[in-house]
Every structure is written in structure tokens, then in C-alpha cells.
């Protein structure tokens, strides 16, 4: 009887002991909380005192928001969301009559896009703080934001393209920004485009476009397109210094799969980095060697004098076929579906990041030139010479992490690569290709950014991680969670996490620049005497109302704190009313808003000196209120008015008044 009792007791005791041991010893169970890796003074290092400014602007893509977000660093404070390639009802962008043209393409008005890669304009290879370009991924376009006004001033559509991903990276003096097709597609006339999808190999083509922004106005036009074999282009960067004159594009799907790409496009050991001799292409284009092919596209420009968009329509585009021009393109083999394609600040090295590769290859521009000179090719791909991997390789970063995506550079010869799968940033030396440090990111980093980190002059103070997953990092907000960025110091040998900050949309690439390069450009208001809008009212004496058939035009002004006119009668059902509203203020930070009940579009938000037009179609008889939406002064709540709408057959005369007390008495 005693023995079973003893056995049972001992067994229970062992289990209890094991249970206690398991729960008390560290490392025996997965930890449920994220380890805190911030150091003690992190808070002080990101604290920007109230009333003082951040050191850097951080321009972050909005991803599926289609916009560009502006943050201050190191605080991570959101300063503004610039409407770029999606409509923005709060400012009237894409809703006012003047801004609709900015989002109009050869396929009509496109209210949404997916913005991925902001790229600052450069002078001598250094970000100059003038413009920020950003790509529209879905309906291929490149937009340009003026950093004096933080407004979109140019948008160009890219013809013969599908999925504008490897864009809009710039050459060292912003002679060109580029656009490469993510999807290869059949091009040409209707008959050559209407082909079975399975004829990918024969009929599908890629191309890369070189777009020239006018140095003064920024107006963009396509200088030339280079057609390529049908593959997917992913990312790109321009050469610099010794590699100036070349452009590098990563490409995947050299399997030329057209279905189930996650498997079918992951078969080959190596895909390519495509090297483009753009100086040669430029010369060929100049010498008339290209061919003009159909490719209707719109280039929209924002005129700051007329406060309106202007569209130039192009019917065709100049294309160069590399088959006719040897020396234009070369392929460098790069392991496993390369994504990031980054050139170091010296311009000597090109880093390709194969998403599925277990190493990061670093190519040498010098070796590439030597290999080209010696025709050291392993063969060709659809007629384009393929260089030997070993001949162009500078070195491989061994065991760097899992899922390398993108690389940015500091000013001390180091590279920082993001790893999506192992969720970390790895710092390594470009010359020695040795790993120096690694830090975790929370979670699954995509792009990363160092101020000036893809230019010839990085300001190597911070690296910012833009993560794809946030999970438990913030207060939960239902199934859809905050998007997230993380700020790390890279001033010391070790990277240090300083700050998490949430972002708008889904952040992809970003750029950062010292605030001192941007601040002196800031426009405070638009000069009313320079306003050339066809419906401007430069003072209340210019306000009026006019009927043109079913159209009623109102020349209206705003000033603290009233509209002129603010009593409108004689509008009839069936009319279309155009409110041309001019903000007469001439001081910084005095916008006025204009909203009218039942407007099916949006409001207007008018900066001082600006004129914008809201179209309103009344749907019922009665008196409709309108008011100012921006708290403009102590008497903002008095800033309002009425529009009387009468039946279609009414004889009420058309009047527009502002009635003063004297007139009433």
C-alpha cells in the first residue's frame, strides 16, 4: 500500500518541480512581451521642445492613401499630408474645377492611386530641397511636389506601362526621373494589344522611361523609352560619381511567368540587375535614332498664377529598341528575385537585394565596365548581353539575415539593409562586406531611410524603418491597425532604437532632408496682384453674378469675416452654380473655407490670395446656407450666407448682395 503512494507522491512532486522550474527559469518558454531595447536617454533625444522645430523633414509615401506625408524628425510629429495622386475633399483637391485636371489622364479622371517612392530632386548628386517626386503605381504616373508650397505642381502619365514601381528615381542633377514597368504588357495598336495572356514570351514587352523635368517649371515630358524583354521591373537607382551616366534597375520574373508568379517566377537561381547607359540613350535620342510610337499621355501642370491646372496631351512617345543599339543595356545576374537596387554614395558599388536570397551581392561598377570592355558575357537574354556574375561581383554579404529588401547608406562607408522576414536592420561595411551590427524592427520592415541616404551626401544621423506589421505596438483599433515607422540613431557604432511613430496610409519608401535646406523656400501666401485666375475678384468691388443659360457664375470674395456676396437670389432648379471664391487675405496662415449645404463634391479650402471654384447643383427649392469652414477669426461663426433657390419657371431676378446695416435702416 505504501509503495504506490510513494510513487504517486514522487511523480507529482517531480511534475510540480518541473512546472516551477519551467516558469521561473528565463528562456525556457517564449516571452509574451516584446523586449524593450530603448536606452535610458532615448526620450530626451527625440524630444523637440514645444515651439521649436525638428531638424529634418521626413517625406513619407502614403502607399494606398495615394498621398505624401510630411513628418518632423526626430520627433516623428505629423506636419501635413500633401494631396498628390488621390482626391482630398478637405482641401477640395480633385473636386474643385481647377484641380480636377491634375488627376485627369488619357483614361479620364482617376481619383486614386498608390504612391510608393518619394525622391527629392538633386543638384550635383545632393538633395536640393526644391521638389519631391513620387510615383503612382496603379495608373502609371509621376507626380512632383513643390517644397515651397508643399503642393503637387506636375503629374505626368506614363504610356506603354503597367504598374509604375521602379520609379521615380533621379539622376544627379534631376535631368531625368525614371519609370519602369512592373508588369510587362503587349504594346502597340489595338490588334497587337488584344492577345492571349499565354503568349507572354512572344508578345509582352517591358520598358523603362526617362522623364525630363523642366529645370524651371518642373513640367515633365518623356524624353525617351527603352523597350526591354518581358520581365517585371522592381526598383532602380541612378549611378553617381564614376557611374554617372548609368542607371540600374532590378528585375524579376525572368522566368517570364504570367500566372501564379509566387511559384512560377521563383524558379531561377538568378534574375537580373539591368544596367542602362542613359548617356548613350540620350545621344541616340538626340541623333534621331529612336522611333515615335503611339502612346497617348497627359502631362498636367499646376499654374500658380492662374491657380488652375494646364494639360498638355502627347499622342506618341520616342522609343529606342536595344536590339538596334548594342551597348545600351546589360544584365548582371542577381540571386533570387531582386527587389532593392541601390548605389552607394561613392557610385562605385551597386547593391542588389534578392528577396529570397541568403546573401546580399555587391556589384562593382569598375568590374562591370571591364567586363563589358572584354565582352566577358555568359550569354544573352532575349538578345541582351548577360555579364558573368563572378566578373562583376565586388563581394557578398554572407548570412546577413532573411528576406533582404532595401539598402541605404551613411556617410562613413556603411550600408543598412532591411530584412523583411527576419524583421531587422543590418549594418555592414560596403568595402569589406562584413556585418557590423543588427537591430530588430517591430515588425517586418519594408523600406528604410537615412537623410540623403540614396544620394552622394548622406546625413548619417538616423535610420528610419517603415514597417509592414504593427500588431501590439500601439493601442489596438479594431482589425485595422496603425501603420508604423521607427527611428534609430546611427551616430555610434551600434544602432539604437529611439522612437516608434505611427504613419498615415502604408509607408513605403521615404526621403529625409535637413530642414534648413527647405525652410527658406516656404511661400507664406499668394500675392493677390499676381492672381491671373479668369474669375478672380481682386476686391469686393469686383464681385458679381452672371447667368449664362443654365450656368450661374458667382465672383465671390472672402475676408475676415464675411463673404461678398452673401445673399444670392434668382438661382433656379436645373441651374449649375459655379462659386469662384477668392481669398483676399494677404497674411500668413489665414485660410478661409467655403462649404454649401448639399454639395455633392467637397469644400474649398482657400489659401490667402488664391481663387478656386466649387460647382454646386441645387436639388431642392428653398434657402440654402453656406459658411466658412476654417476658424478664421473671432467672428468666424458669423462668416456665412444664403442662396435662395426658386423653381425652374421662377421669375426672381438674379441678385448677389452683401447688405450693410445702413442699407437696412
Amino acid at each position: 500500500m505504501k509503495r504506490p503512494l510513494l510513487v504517486t507522491g514522487t511523480t507529482l512532486g517531480l511534475i510540480a518541480g518541473a512546472f516551477l522550474l519551467m516558469n521561473s527559469l528565463p528562456g525556457c518558454r517564449p516571452s509574451r512581451t516584446t523586449k524593450s531595447v530603448v536606452t535610458g536617454d532615448a526620450a530626451a533625444r527625440v524630444y523637440v521642445k514645444p515651439g521649436t522645430h525638428d531638424e529634418f523633414y521626413n517625406l513619407v509615401s502614403g502607399g494606398f492613401s495615394g498621398q505624401l506625408a510630411v513628418y518632423g524628425l526626430p520627433s516623428g510629429r505629423l506636419l501635413r499630408e500633401v494631396p498628390v495622386l488621390s482626391v482630398d475633399p478637405e482641401s477640395g483637391y480633385g473636386y474643385s474645377e481647377e484641380t480636377k485636371g491634375m488627376l485627369t489622364t488619357s483614361q479620364g479622371f482617376i481619383p486614386w492611386d498608390d504612391t510608393h517612392h518619394p525622391e527629392l530632386s538633386q543638384t550635383n548628386g545632393i538633395p536640393d530641397g526644391k521638389w519631391c517626386f513620387i510615383n503612382g503605381n496603379n495608373t502609371p504616373r509621376i507626380a512632383q511636389v513643390d517644397l515651397g508650397t508643399f503642393r503637387t505642381i506636375n503629374i505626368i502619365e506614363i504610356p506603354n506601362s503597367a504598374g509604375n514601381h521602379s520609379s521615380p528615381f533621379t539622376t544627379g542633377n534631376s535631368e531625368y526621373v525614371v519609370a519602369g514597368t512592373r508588369f510587362s504588357v503587349p504594346m502597340g495598336d489595338d490588334a497587337s494589344r488584344d492577345v492571349p495572356i499565354k503568349t507572354y514570351k512572344q508578345n509582352f514587352k517591358g520598358n523603362v522611361s526617362f522623364i525630363h523635368p523642366d529645370p524651371e517649371t518642373g513640367k515633365m515630358s518623356i524624353a525617351f523609352q527603352i523597350t526591354t524583354p518581358g520581365v517585371n521591373f522592381d526598383l532602380s537607382h541612378a549611378g553617381k560619381g564614376p557611374s554617372e551616366g548609368w542607371f540600374f534597375f532590378s528585375c524579376y520574373n525572368t522566368e517570364q511567368a504570367y500566372s501564379l508568379l509566387e511559384v512560377n517566377a521563383s524558379q531561377r537561381d538568378k534574375d537580373f540587375i539591368m544596367a542602362v547607359n542613359w548617356k548613350l540613350a540620350e545621344q541616340l535620342a538626340k541623333d534621331g535614332k529612336g522611333k515615335r510610337v503611339p502612346g497617348r499621355h497627359f502631362s498636367n501642370h499646376w499654374n500658380e498664377r492662374t491657380h488652375s491646372s494646364e494639360t498638355t496631351v502627347y499622342e506618341d512617345v520616342l522609343q529606342l529598341d536595344p536590339k538596334d543599339h548594342p551597348g545600351l543595356l546589360y544584365f548582371m545576374p542577381c540571386p533570387k528575385s531582386p527587389h532593392g537596387c541601390d548605389v552607394d554614395p561613392t557610385g562605385r558599388f551597386i547593391v542588389g537585394s534578392g528577396k529570397l536570397a541568403a546573401l546580399v551581392p555587391v556589384f562593382s561598377f569598375e568590374k562591370m565596365q571591364a567586363a563589358i570592355a572584354e565582352k566577358d558575357f555568359e550569354g544573352d537574354f532575349a538578345g541582351i548581353p548577360v555579364l558573368k556574375y563572378e566578373s562583376v561581383l565586388h563581394g557578398e554579404v554572407k548570412k546577413p539575415g532573411l528576406g533582404p529588401l532595401h539598402t541605404e547608406f551613411d556617410d562613413k562607408g556603411n550600408a543598412y539593409t532591411s530584412f523583411f522576414v527576419s524583421s531587422e536592420i543590418v549594418k555592414w561595411n560596403v568595402e569589406s562586406v562584413g556585418v557590423l551590427d543588427r537591430v530588430p524592427t517591430y515588425y517586418s520592415i519594408g523600406h528604410l531611410c537615412i537623410p540623403g541616404g540614396d544620394s552622394q551626401k548622406p546625413w548619417g544621423k538616423y535610420v528610419i524603418a517603415y514597417n509592414k506589421i504593427t500588431k501590439d505596438r500601439y493601442l489596438p483599433t479594431g482589425p485595422e491597425l496603425a501603420q508604423s515607422a521607427q527611428l534609430y540613431s546611427i551616430e555610434g557604432d551600434k544602432m539604437e532604437l529611439l522612437l516608434d511613430f505611427p504613419t498615415t496610409g502604408e509607408p513605403h519608401y521615404a526621403q529625409a532632408i535637413p530642414a534648413d535646406l527647405v525652410k527658406p523656400r516656404e511661400v507664406k501666401f499668394f500675392k493677390i496682384e499676381e492672381n491671373e485666375h479668369p474669375y478672380v475678384a481682386k476686391g469686393e468691388k469686383d464681385t458679381k453674378i452672371e447667368r449664362r443659360g443654365k450656368e450661374v457664375h458667382v465672383w465671390m470674395t472672402t475676408i475676415r469675416s464675411h463673404f461678398a456676396p452673401d445673399n444670392i437670389e434668382g438661382v433656379k432648379l436645373g441651374d449649375e452654380v459655379y462659386f469662384h471664391v477668392t481669398n483676399l487675405e494677404q497674411d500668413w496662415d489665414v485660410p478661409h473655407g467655403f462649404a454649401i449645404k448639399g454639395a455633392a463634391n467637397a469644400e474649398l479650402l482657400l489659401m490667402p490670395g488664391e481663387t478656386q471654384t466649387l460647382k454646386w447643383i441645387p436639388t431642392r427649392v428653398g434657402v440654402t446656407p453656406m459658411y466658412c469652414t476654417d476658424f478664421c477669426s473671432a467672428l468666424h461663426q458669423e462668416m456665412q450666407g444664403y442662396v435662395r433657390v426658386s423653381p425652374a419657371n421662377s421669375t426672381v431676378p438674379l441678385t448677389a448682395l452683401t447688405v450693410s446695416v445702413d442699407a437696412e435702416m
Partner: protein
Amino acid sequence: MKPISRVMIAIAALALLALLIVPIWRIDLQAPQYPEGLFIQIYADHFAGDVEKINGLNHYIGMATIHDEMFPEFIYLPRVLIALAAFGVLAALWGKRRGLFAGLITLSAFGLWALYDMYKWGYSYGHELDPRAAIKVEGQAYQPPLIGHKQLLNFDAWSTPDTGGWVLFGVMGLLAGVYFLELRRKKPAKPATA
């Protein structure tokens, strides 16, 4: 008078011509909403600075708007300044102490008149308010300070001489100094018998 005194008088007189180009007076305004501040500069013939912004604000409290055309001073002030300078040069050429004395008196009279004129305009702007103004504060007038600081509702106002004002004061000081030295120089020559 000593030649050096006459040269000084001539320099002082010609320095007055600077008032034709540099601002003479300035009024600075600061409020919580205007951390960068607003200011008006008064030149011999026009206003400069944030006149339009201030006009925009004045309508709340019913103050009249300010425009160059409303001030006849802007037409005759440059002429008066040229006349004063000419007077000074003539006094230097003439070389008599009496001439310097007359110049000093005229210039002081001009300075006093200018201050009075500014006060008068300030008074009427600050007191003659539009009865329909949106903001009415019982007993509140908006006369800017003649010189120094004053609080006007949410605004702090400072009135101070600008470059031209200091030049004017400098000229007056210089002339007074020369006059004083000339008086002292003459004294030992004429033994005190009175």
C-alpha cells in the same frame, strides 16, 4: 565761428537729407497670434511694413484704414527737410553764431511739430471709431503710444524712432554741441564785466 564748427554744421545739415530715404519712426505690434510681430515704418513720404495686415485687423474695432494718400504731410515733409538742410548749409556758409542759433530753433520747432502731428493723427485714429464696429470695449481707445510701450487689447504696441529719427536727434545734438562750444570759446575773449 571756427572753421571746424562750420564744417560740422554743414555735415549736420546734409545729414538731414538722409531722412528722405531712411525710415524715421516705427511702431511695432505684438500679439499672441502674431509671434512674428507686425510693424509700420514711417518714411518722409510713405508708410512701409504691414500696413495692409494692420488695416485688415483694424476693422474689427472700427479703426479707419491707413493709406498714404490721406496724409498731406507726405507731400510737404520732403520739401521741409530739403529746406531745413539748405538753411543749415547757408548758416555754415554765413558763419555767424546767430545763423546757427536760428537753425537750431527751427529744427527744434520742426521736431516738436512732428511729434505733435503724430500725436494728433494717433489721437484721431484711436478715438474716432466706427460706431458699427464688431468689437466695442467701453472706454477703450486705440491711440498708439507717442513714444514707448502701450497695451491695446491683445496687442502690445511700441513706438520708437527709426534710423531717421536717430539721425534727426543726432543732428540736433551735434548742432547744440557746436553752439555750446562756440559760446564757451567766445567767453574768454570778452571779459565778464556784467
